[in-house]
Protein backbone atom coordinates (compact mmCIF):
# COMPACT_ATOMS: atom_id res chain seq x y z
CA UNK A 1 0.00 0.00 0.00
CA UNK A 2 1.27 3.47 -0.84
CA UNK A 3 1.99 6.02 1.84
CA UNK A 4 2.28 9.76 1.64
CA UNK A 5 5.65 11.41 2.54
CA UNK A 6 4.69 11.47 6.23
CA UNK A 7 3.72 7.82 6.28
CA UNK A 8 -0.05 8.16 6.14
CA UNK A 9 -1.39 5.07 4.36
CA UNK A 10 -3.44 5.44 1.23
CA UNK A 11 -7.05 4.24 1.25
CA UNK A 12 -7.72 1.24 -0.98
CA UNK A 13 -9.94 1.84 -3.98
CA UNK A 14 -12.35 -1.01 -4.65
CA UNK A 15 -12.54 -1.53 -8.37
CA UNK A 16 -15.24 -4.15 -8.51
CA UNK A 17 -17.50 -4.56 -5.49
CA UNK A 18 -18.78 -7.95 -6.58
CA UNK A 19 -15.30 -9.41 -7.01
CA UNK A 20 -14.14 -7.91 -3.73
CA UNK A 21 -17.02 -9.35 -1.75
CA UNK A 22 -16.73 -12.82 -3.25
CA UNK A 23 -12.99 -12.86 -2.62
CA UNK A 24 -12.99 -11.28 0.85
CA UNK A 25 -15.38 -10.81 3.74
CA UNK A 26 -19.11 -10.30 3.51
CA UNK A 27 -20.58 -6.86 2.91
CA UNK A 28 -21.33 -6.36 6.62
CA UNK A 29 -17.77 -7.11 7.68
CA UNK A 30 -16.34 -4.93 4.91
CA UNK A 31 -18.60 -2.03 5.82
CA UNK A 32 -17.55 -2.33 9.44
CA UNK A 33 -13.90 -2.32 8.45
CA UNK A 34 -14.48 0.72 6.23
CA UNK A 35 -16.08 2.65 9.02
CA UNK A 36 -13.13 1.82 11.30
CA UNK A 37 -10.66 3.03 8.70
CA UNK A 38 -12.77 6.11 8.15
CA UNK A 39 -12.75 7.05 11.81
CA UNK A 40 -8.98 6.55 11.93
CA UNK A 41 -8.58 8.95 9.05
CA UNK A 42 -10.97 11.43 10.69
CA UNK A 43 -8.98 11.22 13.90
CA UNK A 44 -5.78 11.97 12.01
CA UNK A 45 -7.47 14.82 10.18
CA UNK A 46 -8.52 16.35 13.48
CA UNK A 47 -4.99 16.10 14.85
CA UNK A 48 -3.68 17.70 11.70
CA UNK A 49 -6.11 20.60 11.95
CA UNK A 50 -5.09 21.12 15.57
CA UNK A 51 -1.45 21.16 14.58
CA UNK A 52 -2.19 23.58 11.82
CA UNK A 53 -3.95 25.97 14.20
CA UNK A 54 -0.98 25.92 16.56
CA UNK A 55 1.39 26.72 13.72
CA UNK A 56 -0.89 29.38 12.33
CA UNK A 57 -0.80 31.20 15.64
CA UNK A 58 2.93 30.64 16.09
CA UNK A 59 3.92 32.11 12.74
CA UNK A 60 2.49 35.61 13.35
CA UNK A 61 4.26 35.59 16.73
CA UNK A 62 7.59 34.97 15.05
CA UNK A 63 6.78 37.54 12.36
CA UNK A 64 6.01 40.15 15.00
CA UNK A 65 9.31 39.54 16.78
CA UNK A 66 11.12 39.64 13.47
CA UNK A 67 9.47 42.95 12.58
CA UNK A 68 10.69 44.38 15.86
CA UNK A 69 14.24 43.12 15.36
CA UNK A 70 14.19 44.54 11.84
CA UNK A 71 13.09 47.85 13.24
CA UNK A 72 15.92 47.85 15.76
CA UNK A 73 18.39 46.96 13.03
CA UNK A 74 17.11 49.85 10.94
CA UNK A 75 17.62 52.16 13.91
CA UNK A 76 21.08 50.73 14.42
CA UNK A 77 22.10 51.36 10.83
CA UNK A 78 21.34 55.01 11.34
CA UNK A 79 23.86 55.35 14.09
CA UNK A 80 26.42 53.55 11.98
CA UNK A 81 25.67 55.80 9.06
CA UNK A 82 26.02 58.82 11.27
CA UNK A 83 29.24 57.50 12.68
CA UNK A 84 30.94 56.56 9.46
CA UNK A 85 29.54 59.55 7.70
CA UNK A 86 28.21 57.77 4.63
CA UNK A 87 26.81 59.83 1.79
CA UNK A 88 23.58 61.73 1.94
CA UNK A 89 21.90 59.42 -0.56
CA UNK A 90 22.19 56.47 1.76
CA UNK A 91 20.98 58.28 4.76
CA UNK A 92 17.64 59.00 3.25
CA UNK A 93 16.89 55.30 2.77
CA UNK A 94 17.26 54.58 6.43
CA UNK A 95 15.38 56.80 8.77
CA UNK A 96 16.37 60.34 9.67
CA UNK A 97 19.79 60.87 11.17
CA UNK A 98 18.79 62.95 14.12
CA UNK A 99 16.89 59.96 15.53
CA UNK A 100 20.06 57.98 16.00
CA UNK A 101 21.10 59.32 19.37
CA UNK A 102 17.61 59.71 20.64
CA UNK A 103 16.07 56.80 22.47
CA UNK A 104 13.19 55.01 20.81
CA UNK A 105 10.04 56.15 22.57
CA UNK A 106 7.54 53.41 23.07
CA UNK A 107 4.39 52.44 24.82
CA UNK A 108 4.47 48.82 25.81
CA UNK A 109 1.82 46.59 27.19
CA UNK A 110 1.91 46.07 30.96
CA UNK A 111 -1.26 44.13 30.83
CA UNK A 112 -4.29 43.95 28.54
CA UNK A 113 -5.48 47.52 27.95
CA UNK A 114 -2.77 48.93 30.21
CA UNK A 115 0.26 50.54 28.62
CA UNK A 116 3.33 52.22 30.04
CA UNK A 117 5.87 54.57 28.52
CA UNK A 118 9.42 53.35 27.94
CA UNK A 119 12.41 54.83 26.19
CA UNK A 120 14.78 52.36 24.59
CA UNK A 121 18.38 53.35 24.04
CA UNK A 122 19.66 52.53 20.59
CA UNK A 123 20.94 49.02 20.99
CA UNK A 124 22.74 46.30 19.12
CA UNK A 125 21.48 43.47 21.29
CA UNK A 126 18.15 41.88 22.08
CA UNK A 127 16.95 39.11 24.33
CA UNK A 128 14.98 36.34 22.77
CA UNK A 129 12.66 34.16 24.75
CA UNK A 130 13.55 30.59 23.81
CA UNK A 131 10.97 28.84 25.95
CA UNK A 132 11.49 26.56 28.93
CA UNK A 133 12.14 29.65 31.07
CA UNK A 134 15.23 30.56 29.10
CA UNK A 135 16.03 33.91 27.55
CA UNK A 136 19.24 34.54 25.64
CA UNK A 137 21.02 37.66 24.54
CA UNK A 138 21.72 37.93 20.83
CA UNK A 139 23.39 40.52 18.63
CA UNK A 140 20.64 41.92 16.38
CA UNK A 141 21.90 40.23 13.21
CA UNK A 142 22.11 36.84 14.90
CA UNK A 143 18.65 37.33 16.34
CA UNK A 144 17.38 38.08 12.86
CA UNK A 145 18.98 34.96 11.39
CA UNK A 146 17.63 32.80 14.19
CA UNK A 147 14.12 34.17 13.82
CA UNK A 148 14.20 33.78 10.06
CA UNK A 149 15.24 30.15 10.45
CA UNK A 150 12.46 29.55 12.94
CA UNK A 151 9.97 31.22 10.64
CA UNK A 152 11.08 29.12 7.69
CA UNK A 153 10.83 25.92 9.71
CA UNK A 154 7.37 26.82 10.96
CA UNK A 155 6.25 27.59 7.42
CA UNK A 156 7.62 24.32 6.03
CA UNK A 157 5.90 22.45 8.77
CA UNK A 158 2.67 24.33 8.10
CA UNK A 159 2.91 23.44 4.42
CA UNK A 160 3.45 19.81 5.33
CA UNK A 161 0.43 19.73 7.57
CA UNK A 162 -1.61 21.37 4.82
CA UNK A 163 -0.45 18.69 2.38
CA UNK A 164 -1.27 15.99 4.91
CA UNK A 165 -4.71 17.46 5.50
CA UNK A 166 -5.37 17.46 1.75
CA UNK A 167 -4.13 13.90 1.49
CA UNK A 168 -6.33 12.81 4.38
CA UNK A 169 -9.29 14.56 2.78
CA UNK A 170 -8.77 12.47 -0.36
CA UNK A 171 -8.50 9.22 1.59
CA UNK A 172 -11.66 10.08 3.52
CA UNK A 173 -13.50 10.75 0.28
CA UNK A 174 -12.31 7.44 -1.17
CA UNK A 175 -13.53 5.59 1.89
CA UNK A 176 -16.86 7.41 1.84
CA UNK A 177 -17.38 6.52 -1.79
CA UNK A 178 -16.35 2.90 -1.08
CA UNK A 179 -18.89 2.74 1.71
CA UNK A 180 -21.65 4.21 -0.43
CA UNK A 181 -20.91 1.84 -3.29
CA UNK A 182 -20.87 -1.22 -1.01
CA UNK A 183 -24.07 -0.15 0.58
CA UNK A 184 -25.80 0.42 -2.76
CA UNK A 185 -24.49 -2.83 -4.13
CA UNK A 186 -25.84 -4.65 -1.09
CA UNK A 187 -29.27 -3.05 -1.40
CA UNK A 188 -29.43 -3.99 -5.06
CA UNK A 189 -28.32 -7.53 -4.33
CA UNK A 190 -30.99 -7.96 -1.66
CA UNK A 191 -33.64 -6.64 -4.01
CA UNK A 192 -32.57 -9.08 -6.68
CA UNK A 193 -32.66 -11.97 -4.21
CA UNK A 194 -36.11 -10.94 -3.05
CA UNK A 195 -37.43 -10.69 -6.58
CA UNK A 196 -35.88 -14.06 -7.40
CA UNK A 197 -37.47 -15.63 -4.29
CA UNK A 198 -40.87 -14.20 -5.16
CA UNK A 199 -40.58 -15.53 -8.66
CA UNK A 200 -39.66 -18.93 -7.26
CA UNK A 201 -42.64 -18.86 -4.93
CA UNK A 202 -45.01 -17.86 -7.71
Amino acid sequence: MDNNPRGIPKAPFIDDVEAYVSKNESVEVSLKKFSETLSKYRFMENNMLQRRKTLESKIPEIEKTLAMVDFLIAKQVISEVGFEGLGLKFYHIVYTLQDSDEPIRTRFELHDTCYARADIETTDRVYLWLGANVMLEYPLDDAKTLLQEKLEKAQTSLNHSKEDAEFLREQITTMEVNTARFYNWDVKKRQETRVANEEDAA
Binding site: T106, E109, Y115, R169, E170, E176, V177, A180
Partner: protein, 127 residues
Protein backbone atom coordinates in the same frame (compact mmCIF):
# COMPACT_ATOMS: atom_id res chain seq x y z
CA UNK B 1 -20.64 13.64 -1.80
CA UNK B 2 -22.46 10.34 -2.02
CA UNK B 3 -22.14 8.42 -5.25
CA UNK B 4 -24.57 6.54 -7.38
CA UNK B 5 -27.94 5.69 -5.87
CA UNK B 6 -28.65 3.70 -8.99
CA UNK B 7 -25.63 1.51 -8.98
CA UNK B 8 -25.68 0.96 -12.72
CA UNK B 9 -22.86 3.42 -13.26
CA UNK B 10 -19.52 1.87 -12.35
CA UNK B 11 -17.09 4.06 -10.47
CA UNK B 12 -13.63 3.68 -11.94
CA UNK B 13 -10.33 4.59 -10.33
CA UNK B 14 -10.20 7.61 -12.60
CA UNK B 15 -13.63 8.76 -11.38
CA UNK B 16 -12.53 8.23 -7.81
CA UNK B 17 -9.45 10.37 -8.37
CA UNK B 18 -11.62 13.10 -9.89
CA UNK B 19 -13.99 12.97 -6.94
CA UNK B 20 -11.04 13.16 -4.56
CA UNK B 21 -9.53 16.08 -6.42
CA UNK B 22 -12.88 17.84 -6.35
CA UNK B 23 -13.23 17.37 -2.62
CA UNK B 24 -9.64 18.45 -1.96
CA UNK B 25 -9.86 21.54 -4.17
CA UNK B 26 -13.17 22.50 -2.63
CA UNK B 27 -11.62 22.50 0.83
CA UNK B 28 -8.64 24.43 -0.52
CA UNK B 29 -10.85 27.05 -2.10
CA UNK B 30 -12.67 27.65 1.17
CA UNK B 31 -9.34 27.98 2.89
CA UNK B 32 -8.08 30.50 0.34
CA UNK B 33 -11.31 32.47 0.55
CA UNK B 34 -10.94 32.87 4.30
CA UNK B 35 -7.37 34.10 3.89
CA UNK B 36 -8.43 36.41 1.10
CA UNK B 37 -11.21 37.99 3.17
CA UNK B 38 -8.81 38.46 6.10
CA UNK B 39 -6.23 40.20 3.95
CA UNK B 40 -8.87 42.31 2.23
CA UNK B 41 -10.10 43.51 5.59
CA UNK B 42 -6.58 44.26 6.72
CA UNK B 43 -5.87 46.37 3.68
CA UNK B 44 -9.10 48.28 4.21
CA UNK B 45 -7.89 49.16 7.68
CA UNK B 46 -4.56 50.27 6.28
CA UNK B 47 -6.30 52.40 3.66
CA UNK B 48 -8.36 54.08 6.38
CA UNK B 49 -5.19 54.60 8.33
CA UNK B 50 -3.46 56.19 5.36
CA UNK B 51 -6.37 58.65 5.07
CA UNK B 52 -6.12 59.49 8.74
CA UNK B 53 -2.39 60.08 8.46
CA UNK B 54 -2.98 62.55 5.64
CA UNK B 55 -4.74 64.72 8.17
CA UNK B 56 -2.24 64.17 10.99
CA UNK B 57 -0.09 66.92 12.43
CA UNK B 58 3.42 66.73 10.98
CA UNK B 59 5.14 67.65 14.23
CA UNK B 60 3.30 65.15 16.38
CA UNK B 61 4.84 61.68 16.67
CA UNK B 62 2.62 58.78 15.66
CA UNK B 63 2.29 55.78 17.95
CA UNK B 64 2.82 52.98 15.49
CA UNK B 65 2.35 49.37 16.46
CA UNK B 66 5.30 47.12 15.70
CA UNK B 67 5.00 43.65 17.13
CA UNK B 68 3.22 44.14 20.42
CA UNK B 69 4.34 47.64 21.34
CA UNK B 70 3.63 51.13 20.11
CA UNK B 71 6.59 53.12 18.92
CA UNK B 72 6.74 56.85 18.39
CA UNK B 73 7.51 57.48 14.75
CA UNK B 74 7.60 60.69 12.80
CA UNK B 75 4.74 61.11 10.36
CA UNK B 76 7.05 60.37 7.45
CA UNK B 77 8.39 57.19 9.01
CA UNK B 78 4.90 56.03 9.81
CA UNK B 79 3.76 56.64 6.25
CA UNK B 80 6.76 54.78 4.86
CA UNK B 81 6.08 51.79 7.05
CA UNK B 82 2.42 51.87 6.19
CA UNK B 83 3.20 51.92 2.50
CA UNK B 84 5.54 48.94 2.70
CA UNK B 85 2.95 46.99 4.67
CA UNK B 86 0.36 47.83 2.06
CA UNK B 87 2.68 46.72 -0.73
CA UNK B 88 3.30 43.45 1.06
CA UNK B 89 -0.43 42.86 1.48
CA UNK B 90 -1.24 43.82 -2.11
CA UNK B 91 1.27 41.28 -3.26
CA UNK B 92 -0.20 38.58 -1.00
CA UNK B 93 -3.73 39.39 -2.15
CA UNK B 94 -2.73 39.15 -5.81
CA UNK B 95 -1.13 35.77 -5.18
CA UNK B 96 -4.25 34.54 -3.36
CA UNK B 97 -6.49 35.79 -6.16
CA UNK B 98 -4.41 33.89 -8.70
CA UNK B 99 -4.56 30.70 -6.65
CA UNK B 100 -8.30 31.06 -6.24
CA UNK B 101 -8.85 31.55 -9.97
CA UNK B 102 -6.74 28.51 -10.70
CA UNK B 103 -8.62 26.33 -8.23
CA UNK B 104 -11.98 27.59 -9.49
CA UNK B 105 -11.09 26.73 -13.08
CA UNK B 106 -10.03 23.24 -12.04
CA UNK B 107 -13.22 22.78 -10.02
CA UNK B 108 -15.40 23.85 -12.93
CA UNK B 109 -13.62 21.35 -15.19
CA UNK B 110 -14.04 18.52 -12.70
CA UNK B 111 -17.69 19.40 -12.18
CA UNK B 112 -18.33 19.11 -15.89
CA UNK B 113 -16.55 15.76 -16.13
CA UNK B 114 -18.25 14.29 -13.06
CA UNK B 115 -21.76 15.52 -13.86
CA UNK B 116 -21.21 14.30 -17.43
CA UNK B 117 -20.60 10.80 -16.17
CA UNK B 118 -22.84 10.52 -13.11
CA UNK B 119 -25.67 12.90 -14.04
CA UNK B 120 -28.04 13.21 -11.07
CA UNK B 121 -26.36 10.38 -9.18
CA UNK B 122 -23.81 12.77 -7.78
CA UNK B 123 -24.21 16.06 -5.94
CA UNK B 124 -21.33 18.50 -6.11
CA UNK B 125 -23.11 21.60 -4.83
CA UNK B 126 -22.43 23.19 -1.48
CA UNK B 127 -25.13 22.66 1.13
Amino acid sequence: MEATPDAEIQVTWEDQQNINAFSRLNAKLEDLQVQYEDKKLEIEYLDDLAMELELADEDEPISYKIGDIFIDLSLEEAQDRLQSEKDRLDYAIDALKNDMDEVETKLAGLKKTLYGKFKTAINLEKD
